[in-house]
Symmetry: C2
Subunit: 497 residues, 2 copies
């Protein structure tokens, strides 16, 4: 059945003889089985074994396998629970409770080693008091959901335990990164000589890269002479853009005063006429615009800035256009991507490497394996499913008179923003007083959800809109029934508020 | 034996009845066994199963377990090989060979999904053509070695698949980070109110943080007004310091021209008198010194700058002192640390979070679990073992007349730098001609090593010293015998050069 794979055989002879397998259970029914009990004693005893007994210790082979398999046991159990809609998403405790030690789960670090058995207990407890981000009803973050293939990819990456320094020490992973980037550029329609990129540890660093490149393109002397040699340079981003753009400006020595937030329309899209107005204003002040950071899928509303219009403006004013987002499917893999329409990095920072980092985590394998597993069409189908769920939620919300959409238009992406109105509020007329009350509803419902662990969703205010729920579909485990459940749950927890 | 752990039981009933276990072998001897063959067919067939059949797919539970266990099989097999001194460290191929597809290992990404069985083959091939960085004779990088506990920690981290955004979504991991930081500060002797920090994705980003903090401390207006509001600020680092300090200066808008490289002594330590001279020179030019980036364990020589002397100079001139290094044991966990002797971050970047990143990878659990497993004393013993190996190598090298130490003094850290002299070169008198020849020796030996995959060590020139080997002990699997082997191997490959 499986070819080309050499199988691990922990005590295989022993197993064949005695039918021991590494996943022997300790359930009560099994404990009664004297035969099983007998066999269990043949497995290494982890209660008086220590890390120092594991590989590379001499004779550490079987113990290492046994220990790692026990860890995998715990993980598989957790994975099963994660996807079980009936399990709780979290078992909430306050930080001080965790610090004090819950049911013997002691976070304090000792000077002496703990036995392997205790480590397994710690692993179990770590997962027990954590949050199941792959649970079908976990909607709390932009990225949610557990991808089994991605998980397998991460396990292998951790085992290979190398670094993206050089081809020499990561031959397969560095080539995989190239293959992935080429494929991604192909999808956008950029040829090999037009584009380059790397995977970076998240969106904030990617935005930092984008602005770094924009500045370097216009002022290559920045690298050696620093910002004091430059005029007052100005960066534009929509008021709905990610805060990491401003943060990057602070880090790069540009200063947040020199980031102009461009007004958005009701849906959170940058208004091109406003951008043009802001550029002209800056120029009149003697400032030097250099870059527009556009957004493709904003954090709260999932809004897409009008990229073509912005591109036209950038062309007229000779500004670098950076786009934060694109290929959103990749976000949940922590593998964000930087596109550079021309190869800037032939003349590079100091040592010819592309990254801000010296060593880089191997992000390529996980994504590569997922791509193999799903195919491009699989990713497409996955995103389409999220879009359909967003549309479904939108339609359901429209019909319910105790919910209200933040804006009444079919979702363009997977974000849907809405308020819940408890009966008490429905009869208060629109206005300041009602808003003040409405503002408190989402936090109260959320606090209750955390306590009960039944579902998790985020909320925030935005501009003059008081706290509203933000649903973002990015969890492959979510089904329509979970969407229905969420609304019922909000209603159940909120109706008497 | 194991308590408090609920065991995974893939097809347990089936297993009990038919003694199937998930690690059934396909070895020839097993295939002959008709009974086994029969049982194998009861396991899910992965050749016509796809990622879409796994969880969260309905009825995907058993298939998911089976698939993940097969992956773990491959990983356990790899781990065993990694620690086997007789296995090759790498099976070298050129990038074009990998791209063309070796023995059917196809890196290209298709639009259609591949079956799970093919993914397992891909996993095997990925490891086959990679580099075993945990091999006892892998000395190529500053960080090497595979820690089984750290590995288990990474597997769990990947499974929990959360992010360090907030306590809300990573309650255990964020508290663990606090506990770890407190413990690390305790070791340095800093109280809770004196220190703060975060884990960052590597040393380069940590150095960037350090310099960012130094600049902010002196000029809090930098955040809003940018570098153009500042005088010409100057940063000092030793000529042996890590290149990421200069890189950080380029990124932060300081400019590499404003990084002064301070001269080192023969061992690679910053000379305090030179630092003072450089500070005074900068001041005379009207520049404004603001920070000294000292090094505790330099990249090439493992040199420690005289920290106390540098601290005195910093105090006199009111400069921020950043130390790159400290707690070197943590380097190999990719969990570098930033110390800030005063809480700058109460007034923080934009949103009150400490990191440049918005989301951060969970690095805390791996280190936490390792600390539990080893205890502080275990880490101490591990570092001491590396130090002893370094001393051993130093002593052996001193006795061999075809090897020469780059400097003849007992190692202060785990780095040992040396040349190998083939017999042909031993009789050429010291001077330019000999150096020219000697410069070619290490690369030739290394190229041979890569071809044969027997050991891996790095080399580089430094200043006026031509290419020399740099041994850094950080691999827990390395024994004295491996050190002896390395020298024999260098001699075998180099004697006729």
């Amino acid at each position: 059945m499986i070819t080309n794979i050499s199988f691990f055989n922990l005590d295989r002879k022993q197993m064949r003889k005695k039918s021991v397998h590494p996943f022997q259970s300790t359930d009560k029914d099994m404990k009664k089985d004297a035969h099983t009990e007998d066999l269990m004693t043949n497995l290494p005893n982890l209660s008086n074994a220590y890390a120092s007994d594991l590989l590379p210790s001499k004779d550490g082979k079987d113990l290492t396998k046994c220990f790692l398999l026990q860890v995998v046991n715990i993980l598989l159990h957790y994975i099963e629970k994660t996807f079980d809609v009936k399990s709780k998403i979290l078992d909430f405790h306050h930080p001080h409770q965790l610090l004090e030690g819950l049911d013997g789960f002691d976070l304090e670090l000792s000077d002496h080693p703990e036995p392997l058995e205790q480590l397994l207990v710690d692993c179990t407890d770590t997962l027990k008091y954590g949050v199941k981000t792959g649970h079908p009803r976990y909607f709390n973050q932009l990225s949610s959901g557990l991808d089994v293939i991605g998980l397998a990819g991460e396990w292998l990456t951790a085992t290979a335990n190398t670094n993206m320094f050089t081809y020499e020490i990561a031959p397969v992973f560095t080539v995989m990164e190239t293959v992935l980037l080429k494929k991604m550029c192909d999808i956008i329609g950029w040829g090999e000589t037009e584009a380059d990129g790397i995977f970076s540890p998240g969106g904030s660093i990617s935005n930092l890269y984008g602005i770094l490149v924009a500045r370097y393109k216009k002022y290559p002397e920045i690298k050696t002479k620093g910002m004091t040699s430059l005029p007052c340079i100005i960066l534009f981003v929509s008021e709905q853009g990610h805060y990491s753009v401003k943060k990057a400006a602070a880090i790069l020595g540009i200063g947040t005063d020199h980031v102009i937030e461009v007004k958005c329309d009701e849906r959170g899209k940058m208004i091109p006429a406003e951008l043009e107005k802001n550029i002209l204003q800056a120029k009149r002040k003697g400032q030097t615009p250099f870059c527009v950071a556009a957004t493709a899928g904003s954090t709260v509303f999932g809004a897409f800035d009008p990229l073509h219009d912005i591109a036209d403006i950038c062309q007229v004013h000779r500004l670098w256009m950076h786009v934060d987002g694109l290929l959103a499917a990749c976000n949940q893999m922590r593998a964000r991507y930087l596109f550079q329409p021309d190869k800037l990095y032939n003349v590079d920072f100091d040592t010819g490497d592309k990254a801000i980092q010296c060593g880089r985590h191997v992000d390529s394998f996980k994504l590569w394996l997922m791509w193999k597993a799903k195919g491009t069409y699989g990713f497409e189908a996955q995103i389409n499913r999220y879009m359909e769920l967003a549309k479904y939620l939108y339609k359901v919300l429209k019909k319910k008179d105790n919910f209200k959409l933040v804006f009444d238009a079919e979702p363009e992406f997977t974000n849907v923003c809405f308020w819940y109105f408890p009966p008490r509020l429905k009869h208060i007329p629109k206005g300041f007083e009602r808003d003040q009350e409405l503002h408190k509803i989402a936090p109260k419902i959320k606090a209750q959800m955390i306590e009960e662990g039944t579902a998790l969703i985020s909320y925030q205010p935005c501009g003059d809109r008081v706290n509203f729920f933000r649903m973002v579909f990015s969890n492959p485990a979510t089904r329509q029934a979970d969407v229905d459940y969420l609304l019922d749950e909000i209603q159940r927890l909120g109706k008497d508020l």
